[in-house]
């Protein structure tokens, strides 16, 4: 492998996931990843702060995509509909990385510390979505409820997507799960 590495970052991420799946996350070292990717450890650290960041470096982009979609939704939409469309948009972005997202989910499911990190990521997503709704003028409680409900729907839809048939897209499952949420919550006694 020469010094010219047009996609060292992408290759490192792919190889890291392969190794996490084969050996477990804890048992894989940065040295292992760099070796299999045919680069130096120094190259790894030019792209990722540590081996956990390979799994979470997409979090910021996900959050930005969600917040931008909330901010740019048409005026006059109900807050939950703004959130629903924003998550469906984020879902369509994840669809392009389907193979990576599915492998990543399996690695995280096998490791409690990574699951905690994923939960904190989801909480941060809810906080960001709440702020983005409030910036649209949605009252604080409604903003928090719509955002939290959205994150709950997204998490469940993501699980169903990973477990489901390849023909079901994440955006479609997200839409269906928002509809389920409406049915479920309609059962609150008035």
């Amino acid at each position: 492998m020469g010094r010219w590495e047009p996609d060292a970052r992408g290759r490192l991420a792919r190889v890291a996931l392969e190794l996490y799946a084969e050996r477990g996350f804890e048992q894989t070292t940065v040295e292992d990843i760099a070796e299999r990717a045919g680069v130096t450890e120094r190259t790894f650290f030019r792209h990722f702060a540590d081996k956990r960041e390979v799994l979470f470096d997409g979090s910021a982009a996900l959050q930005h995509g969600l917040v931008d979609a909330i901010a740019s939704a048409p005026a006059g939409l109900a807050p939950i509909e703004v959130v629903s469309r924003a998550f469906a948009h984020v879902g369509s972005l994840l669809e392009e990385r389907r193979a990576f997202a599915h492998r990543r989910a399996a690695v995280i499911a096998a490791n409690p510390a990574l699951q905690e990190r994923e939960l904190l990521k989801m909480a941060s997503l809810a906080t960001a979505a709440t702020a983005a709704l409030r910036a649209r003028g949605v009252p604080p409680s409604d903003a928090a409820l719509a955002a939290q409900a959205g994150v709950a729907v997204f998490s469940l839809a993501f699980e169903l997507w990973v477990a489901g048939a390849p023909s079901d897209t994440l955006a479609t499952i997200i839409d269906a799960t928002f509809a389920d949420l409406r049915s479920v919550t309609a059962g609150v006694a008035p």
Copy 2:
């Protein structure tokens, strides 16, 4: 302070919260807590594994209360109504410890690591509620959505309770917030 300590545990918890509020959680040592409570450090460790456990030793009781309330709800209730009543029940238990719960919330709000722990506790509550609903025969997706929605409502209601007037009980705020959730999610386009 003699060797006879009828409520060393309660006194330790009260004193610990006072010190966390005065000095900050990180800056308080078990030695400080034991000294102010007039007991030895050994007595502290007979009651709590560490200083963080003072804040989280009620978590198991909260979860049991919630799960029992879900299990013993009348048959035929909608899942979200089961969850709503179960959280209102838990809310009435917390009302009895209002002063402690409010002080505790302030300590947690001031410390990011404690906030993370609190988020993980809420996630664990949602997992337990999902399992309890499934044990009642609720389908998996509906169980997960009702449980996650319930935890979102409970977290928000808890915040409103801590910030609000002393005349508003947590159970009342929980009921009102479940009603808000129904209104918010009714906005999902069919």
